[in-house]
Every structure is written in structure tokens, then in C-alpha cells.
């Protein structure tokens, strides 16, 4: 079966109503029907199963990519921080982006979300070329990101943080904002949705507290919950485990897999190899700005390029590497 055939077949099977190029209109109508946190037409099981035929090599073509980056280069002065030839992210699975310190993971991540502009290259998200699209518009396409240093808005209450996440708010226009009757109904719906999410993330008891009073782990949860207010099709997590109390780790992991099971695509940057092994369906390894390996998590430990990359920077023995991976 060729890649293309597979692609079409998968689409036929999974996205009954969407044409080959689901535009923003179809997409947003999809979004509006999600009431039970399930992305219509994405079957995570099938999406994962489809990865089985993907070769374990850098730049491997995926059966149903949601995000494609081509020849993305970012230089700082004379230093080339990222030079990624070709990357595809499979829809409906959890992909981990790993690599030794200074490999350019976060830079690449920023480039994919348009929080940084590449010097060269193209990026396509869900059928949209996003090269010239400002970062804030990406969220409207259905891609939302979190940050390594958690950006809970600390002088706002938790519920305000949540309500901020909703897109398409009528009251966010200057003219309508002074006329509360124009947006009160929508605000009530948003608040109900926010409360439901807070419940799911077990943050309801903090609802009216300032976000600044939360613990590091709670902030991570809040940031993730807030991201879901956007009703995204793809969630990008920048080191979701950094600074999280071990007691909260399992719950966070559960939420991440929960996102996938609800039909969302997840891409995350992580140092914590346990987490990578435990929840990711596919792993992309970067070193010195390049993609050096791809494959399912179990394949990565044996990959010679990866071993070299980690050894080259860490000066550890191969055994250490095994322990770390």
C-alpha cells in the first residue's frame, strides 16, 4: 500500500465528512459540535496503528500528518540553532521531541508555533500554510501551546485564566465590551465550560483564587486546562513535567494521554525519559539543531546516532545512556 492510498483510505475511514483538505470553515464547524471533548472523526487507536508502517528514520513520511515542516532553519548571529530538513507530525497521536541540552528543541518548538520566525523553510498546519501567520492566529487554527516556564497569569483568578482561553468571544471587541448584554450569554456558556474543565483537572477548589497562589504543578494543570478552552486539535506542550512535584506526575500524564484519547494531537518537548517512554507513541530526536532520529520510543535507545549525540555532549558511558533513556 503506498503512502497516498493509505492516506486517503485513512481519511475516508476516520473523517467521513471532511474532504481531502478540510479548510478552516469545516474545521471550526467540527469544533462547535464537540461537546463531549471528542474531536469528531479522529480515532486515536487507528492513528496509532497507522504509525506501525512508518520507517524509523529522520523525516519519515506519516500517513496522516497534521503538521509538516520543511527545511526550517533558524540562525542566531553565526550560530545555526535549528536546521530541520523535514518533519511530519502524525494526527491523533502523542509525539515526543527529545534531545540533549542545546539541541534546539525549544527553538524548533517556537518555530512550529510561530513564536519565533525561521530564516528559511515552510510549515503547514492542518492544511494551512502558517509561514506568514502571526502567532495569535495559530490558536484560531486549532494549535495551542504551553510554555516551559509556566505562564499562569498570576494576578488573575483561576477562573479568569480559564475564561481567557475561549476563542471567538464577542466581548473581546472594544465596542461590544461596554455593552454587557451583547456578551453576557456567551460569557455564561464559557464560564460553564471553564468550570467543567476545572472539575476535570481537579482545580475547582482554587476557582476564585489568584493563579499566583498555586503550586508549580497546579499551574501546569491550569495552563493545560486553559489551553483546552481554545478547543484545539493540536496541543503543544513545552516540558510539561518541568518543576512538577512527583506526586502530580501521574495525574499530569493521565491528562496528556486523555488529550490524545479525546482525539487531539500532542507534541511535547521533554527531558524526563520516563515520561517519554510511558506515554509517547512516536519520538523525534534532535541534536545540534538537526533531526537525527525518529521512531517508536522503544527503538530510540538502540539508535546509534542518538547514542552518539548523547555521549558527545554528556561524556557518559553507554550504560549511563541506557539508564537515562
Amino acid at each position: 500500500m503506498t503512502g497516498n492510498d493509505f492516506d486517503d483510505e485513512l481519511k475516508d475511514a476516520l473523517i467521513p465528512d471532511a474532504g481531502p483538505h478540510a479548510g478552516p470553515a469545516t474545521h471550526s464547524s467540527d469544533m462547535s459540535v464537540i461537546t463531549s471533548d471528542k474531536i469528531a472523526g479522529v480515532d486515536p487507536q487507528a492513528a496509532r496503528a497507522a504509525l506501525a508502517d512508518v520507517p524509523w528514520e529522520p523525516g519519515a513520511k506519516k500517513p496522516d500528518p497534521i503538521l509538516v515542516a520543511d527545511h526550517v532553519v533558524r540562525r542566531f548571529g553565526g550560530l545555526t540553532a535549528v536546521d530541520a530538513d523535514h518533519v511530519e507530525i502524525q494526527r491523533g497521536v502523542i509525539t515526543a521531541l527529545i534531545g540533549p541540552n542545546g539541541a534546539g528543541k525549544t527553538t524548533f518548538f517556537n518555530l512550529l508555533t510561530n513564536f519565533d520566525t525561521p530564516d528559511e523553510g515552510t510549515r503547514v498546519f492542518d492544511g494551512h500554510n502558517i509561514d506568514k501567520v502571526p502567532a495569535h492566529k495559530i490558536a484560531n487554527y486549532g494549535m495551542v501551546r504551553t510554555f516551559q516556564l509556566t505562564k499562569a497569569l498570576s494576578k488573575m483568578t483561576v477562573i479568569e485564566n480559564m475564561k481567557l482561553g475561549a476563542t471567538g468571544q464577542k466581548g473581546e471587541s472594544l465596542w461590544r465590551s461596554v455593552l454587557p448584554f451583547m456578551w453576557k450569554n456567551q460569557e455564561r456558556e464559557i464560564e460553564a465550560r471553564a468550570d467543567a474543565l476545572l472539575d476535570r483537572f481537579k482545580l475547582s477548589h482554587m476557582r476564585d483564587e489568584f493563579a499566583g497562589t498555586m503550586s508549580g504543578g497546579q499551574r501546569k494543570l491550569l495552563e493545560m486546562a486553559r489551553a483546552l478552552m481554545v478547543e484545539p486539535s493540536m496541543v503543544m506542550l513545552d516540558e510539561p513535567m518541568a518543576g512538577v512535584n512527583p506526586a502530580l506526575t501521574q495525574s499530569l500524564l493521565g491528562h496528556v494521554t486523555g488529550l490524545r484519547d479525546a482525539g487531539m494531537t500532542v507534541l511535547f518537548v521533554e527531558h524526563d525519559m520516563d515520561m517519554v517512554q510511558e506515554i509517547s507513541d512516536w519520538v523525534i530526536v534532535m541534536a545540534e539543531g538537526r533531526i537525527i532520529a525518529e521512531g517508536p520510543p522503544a527503538s530510540i535507545g538502540q539508535n546509534q546516532a542518538v547514542v552518539d549525540a548523547y555521549l558527545g555532549t554528556h561524556h557518559h558511558s553507554a550504560l549511563d545512556l541506557e539508564a537515562e533513556l
Binding site: H136, K137, F147, L153, L164, K170, G171, L174, S177
Partner: protein, 346 residues
């Protein structure tokens, strides 16, 4: 010492024209800094925009248009046109000049550019170059634009009102000013409680977070800059009508700093802060000013310490020192609590 005049001056400060002018300007600055985190150090320019928009329409641009295009716009038509130009056109232009280059950059660039624009404005308006002077009348400023306003006054110009605090014209100005202030504060209150205000606060807290959630931070910052500028312009216009003159010296950079002190004293990021702050600042300023002047006049304060002209300078010194100390020790203002203060959050 004449305690009567000291008390009178205290009350004029607490509720009079200066209070209204600076409360309006501080409401604008609160939108800029308190809610959006924009470091605008050129609020005086927005105030001047209001003053000069009105004054130039009535005194120079309007008559020139009448002459050159054979129009026949009456003074009162020009007055209302002038209000539009001063409150909307000029502030929007200034906000765009300040905002377009800087709102994508780190916060302090806006601070530098706002001061630069204030200086540019000051130099240009004061310029004796004939081609400019014919529009702005250099440092003497423009007069003869407030007639239409005072013609509407129901108060007698001969009598004094409100316990002799105000003349008829002043009373009219103060009442209109209170009305405008009430409307302004209400609008601000509505804005801040709306989802729009929520986005502003989010941008103040963390611009990247707001952008990651699909908010166009640049556009919101620009909206806030313009709107806050409009509030400043309304204040400046009332100031010019009160003095019956639009003069560059009434809108120097130090005026901006008075607005800052009022805002920080009241507590940035709270709706009533600018009003409370402006009232306190002007109450205290007028009190200390009259007190010192009376003291100098009655020779309670010897001339070797302070002369009459130096009283004004001491007032600026206190203002600067107050601003520095407030920012260092009570950035949340005198009433605020530390959790929600805006100033110390970065």
C-alpha cells in the same frame, strides 16, 4: 498666615479643575499602565493633543479654512469640530506614532518613544518658525477658543459658588468636568469588567500567554494606547478651557509625572485609583503650595530657606521624591494589596 485661603486651596485641589483634569488623564494612564502594562511617559502629549486640537480648530485651522475655501463655519461649529479633532483625531494620530514602532518591542522602548514624542511636540509647538507659529502661536499659545463653552454657562460670572470656591465660569467647568469624569469612570469600569479588559490584564501579566491563546496582543495594546490617550485628551481639553489658553508650558513632561504620581498613589490597576489619587495629589499639592507661600509671605519661613518662586520648585521635588519612594516601597499604592498590584509584577 491666612488659614482660610489654605483650607480653600486644599478643597479646590480635592475637587476642583486640576483634580478633574488629572483624574481623567490618570484614568487613561491606568488603562495604559495599570491594565495593559504600557509604559506611557508621554501622557502630557495626549493632554496637549486635546487642548491643541480644540484650540487650533477654533483659532487657526478653522478661520484659515473659512478664508481659503470660502466656507462659513461659525465659531460654535468649529468648537464642536474642535472637540472631535481634539478628542479623537489628534490622540489617534499620536498613539499610532508612538505605538506602531514600539508595541512589538520590549516595554521600555515605548517609554523612550513617548518621552521623545512629548519632546518633539514641545519643540515644534514652541517653534518661532513662521510657518509653524501661524498655527500654534509659539510659546504664547492659542487663545479665544473657549467662548462657545462659557456662553453655555447658566452661572453668573459675577457671583461665586459652592462656599465661594468657584466663580461662575469655574463652577460651570467643574460641573461639566465632574459629569465627564463620571462618564469616563463608568466606561472604564465597564471595559475592565468585560472580556476585553480580561485580555488587557492577560497581556499585562504575560503577553506570550495571551498570544498563545489566540489574542492579538499588538492590536489590544494599540487599542488601549489610543483609548487611554483619548481620556488624556479630554483632560487636557478641560485644562485648556479652564485656562482659556492652550500653551506648551501647560503640557511639559513633568505634567506626565504628576499623572503617574496620582495613579501610583491611588494604586494602578484599580478603577477608582486614578480619581482617589488625583484628588489626594492635588489636595496635598495645593495645601503644601499655599501653606509654603503663606509661610514665606508671612515670613514664618525665612527667605534664606525659600523664596516665593522656589515654592513651585519644592513642589516638583516632592513630586519626584514621592514617585520614587512610592515605586520603591508601595508600588501597589496606598490602598492596594500586594497580591493584585500591577507595578511590581515583572
Amino acid at each position: 498666615m491666612d488659614w482660610g485661603s489654605i483650607i480653600e486651596s486644599l478643597f479646590r485641589g480635592l475637587i476642583g479643575e486640576s483634580f478633574i483634569v488629572f483624574a481623567l488623564a490618570a484614568i487613561g494612564l491606568n488603562l495604559h499602565f495599570g491594565y495593559t502594562g504600557l509604559l506611557n511617559f508621554g501622557q502630557a502629549v495626549f493632554m496637549a493633543a486635546g487642548a491643541y486640537g480644540l484650540a487650533m480648530m477654533v483659532a487657526t485651522i478653522g478661520p484659515a479654512a473659512n478664508r481659503n475655501f470660502g466656507w462659513d463655519l461659525s465659531e460654535s461649529t468649529l468648537f464642536w469640530l474642535g472637540i472631535f479633532v481634539g478628542v479623537v483625531v489628534f490622540p489617534v494620530v499620536f498613539a499610532l506614532i508612538m505605538g506602531i514602532p514600539t508595541l512589538r518591542l520590549r516595554a521600555d522602548y515605548l517609554a523612550i518613544v513617548t518621552i521623545a514624542v512629548a519632546e518633539i511636540f514641545r519643540i515644534v509647538v514652541r517653534s518661532p518658525t513662521p510657518s509653524i507659529k501661524k498655527w500654534t502661536n509659539s510659546s504664547d499659545g492659542l487663545t479665544g477658543f473657549s467662548g462657545t463653552f462659557y456662553d453655555m454657562s447658566p452661572f453668573s460670572t459675577q457671583d461665586r459658588y459652592l462656599f465661594n470656591l468657584f466663580t461662575g465660569n469655574q463652577m460651570f467647568l467643574v460641573i461639566v468636568g465632574w459629569g465627564v469624569l463620571a462618564i469616563g469612570a463608568t466606561i472604564c469600569w465597564l471595559l475592565i469588567r468585560s472580556p476585553w479588559g480580561r485580555v488587557l490584564k492577560a497581556i499585562r501579566e504575560d503577553e506570550d500567554a495571551a498570544r498563545s491563546l489566540g489574542k492579538n496582543a499588538y492590536s489590544y495594546k494599540m487599542q488601549a494606547l489610543i483609548l487611554g490617550g483619548v481620556f488624556g485628551a479630554v483632560g487636557g481639553m478641560i485644562r485648556a478651557i479652564g485656562f482659556s489658553v492652550a500653551q506648551p508650558d501647560n503640557f511639559i513632561t513633568d505634567v506626565t509625572f504628576f499623572v503617574w504620581v496620582a495613579l501610583i498613589l491611588g494604586g494602578a490597576g484599580k478603577v477608582l485609583a486614578p480619581i482617589v489619587g488625583a484628588s489626594l495629589v492635588y489636595g496635598l499639592l495645593n495645601f503644601s503650595d499655599t501653606f509654603l507661600r503663606e509661610g514665606v509671605a508671612a515670613e514664618v519661613i525665612p527667605e534664606s530657606i525659600m523664596t516665593g518662586t522656589q515654592v513651585g520648585q519644592v513642589r516638583f521635588m516632592l513630586m519626584g521624591l514621592g514617585l520614587a519612594l512610592l515605586a520603591a516601597f508601595r508600588p501597589q499604592g496606598i490602598f492596594g494589596n500586594k497580591e493584585e498590584m500591577a507595578l511590581d509584577d515583572r
